[in-house]
């Protein structure tokens, strides 16, 4: 029983440690599909790619990662980059300026 409780405590601790609170900003088509311009969420996703996949499935977003870029704290990033607590993340749909 003692070992079981210890394991449960360790598991809880790991889950807490893995959770990050991030702000997501949506634009254009993503904003319309998600229904909000931004949201603050708690996630255990370890990369930007994993985070977007989770969001895409959860909210049935139509754009795949291959067609988009991603930016963190106002700088373009790689999809494989890790997520840090308090990151501000923008999933960038295909651009059409100019």
């Amino acid at each position: 029983m003692g070992a079981f409780l210890a394991l449960a405590k360790i598991r809880l601790f790991m889950q807490k440690a893995l959770k990050k609170t991030v702000q997501i900003r949506y634009y254009a088509l993503l904003r319309e599909e998600r229904g909000v311009a931004s949201e603050t969420i708690v996630t255990c996703a370890s990369t930007l790619a994993q985070l977007y996949e989770d969001l895409r499935k959860r909210h049935e977003l139509s754009l795949s990662q291959e067609r988009m870029s991603v930016a963190v704290n106002d700088s373009f990033a790689n999809w494989s980059d890790p997520i840090a607590d308090q990151d501000v993340i923008v999933f960038v749909p295909p651009v059409a300026g100019g």
Binding site: V36, E39, I41, D54, R58, E66, S80, P94, G97
Partner: protein, 178 residues
């Protein structure tokens, strides 16, 4: 330098800002809103932007042009928000001693701006449908009608995703909405 503006672009003021007695050439590009796209009559056009990202990238593009080409000065300004047929959507001007560098830098800036700036365009057509340009998977929405200017429909991205990850179970809670 300000790169994005919600009001009318004053091209005369921008050209004056890059004039220089050392300049033998000024090259400029004006991107204007045209009234058709893919044989459809456009009745409304809206530009949306992530301002912080776009301003930063625009500054980077102009700096790159100054490094790559022997130019004296360069300006880039892009409209955001709703824009009418015939209006100026984007303006680029470059001054240099000689015309070759001016032409090349001007072309570079507008090409990179179209490819890299976090700006999105929503067109509404006379038939009531609207699309976010380059997001071809979006569903058509019924709205009332706009126009647009020279646009190369491409799917350029600033960065490609470096890898695809398998979905993982993650706890996502929506703490706040705006």
């Amino acid at each position: 330098m300000i790169y994005l503006i919600e009001t009318t672009i004053d091209e005369r003021e921008l050209k004056q800002s890059i004039e220089d007695d050392r300049a033998g050439a000024i090259a400029a590009f004006e991107g204007r809103v045209r009234n058709h796209n893919d044989e459809k009559a456009v009745v409304e056009l809206i530009y949306e932007t992530c301002e912080s990202l776009a301003e930063k990238e625009a500054d980077r593009i102009v700096s790159e042009a100054k490094e790559k080409f022997p130019i004296l000065n360069a300006v880039l300004r892009h409209r955001t928000g709703k824009i009418k047929i015939g209006e100026l959507a984007v303006f680029v001007a470059v001054s240099s001693a000689h015309r070759q560098a001016a032409f090349q830098a001007c072309r570079y800036i507008i090409d990179e701006a179209k490819r890299r700036l976090a700006i999105w365009k929503k067109e509404t057509y006379a038939d009531g449908t609207s699309v976010w340009v380059n997001c071809q998977s979006c569903s058509a929405m019924r709205l009332g009608g706009a126009a647009h200017h020279e646009q190369e429909h491409n799917h350029h991205k600033h960065l490609k995703p470096s890898e695809q990850s398998a979905p993982v179970l993650s706890s996502i809670g929506e703490v706040a909405h705006e």
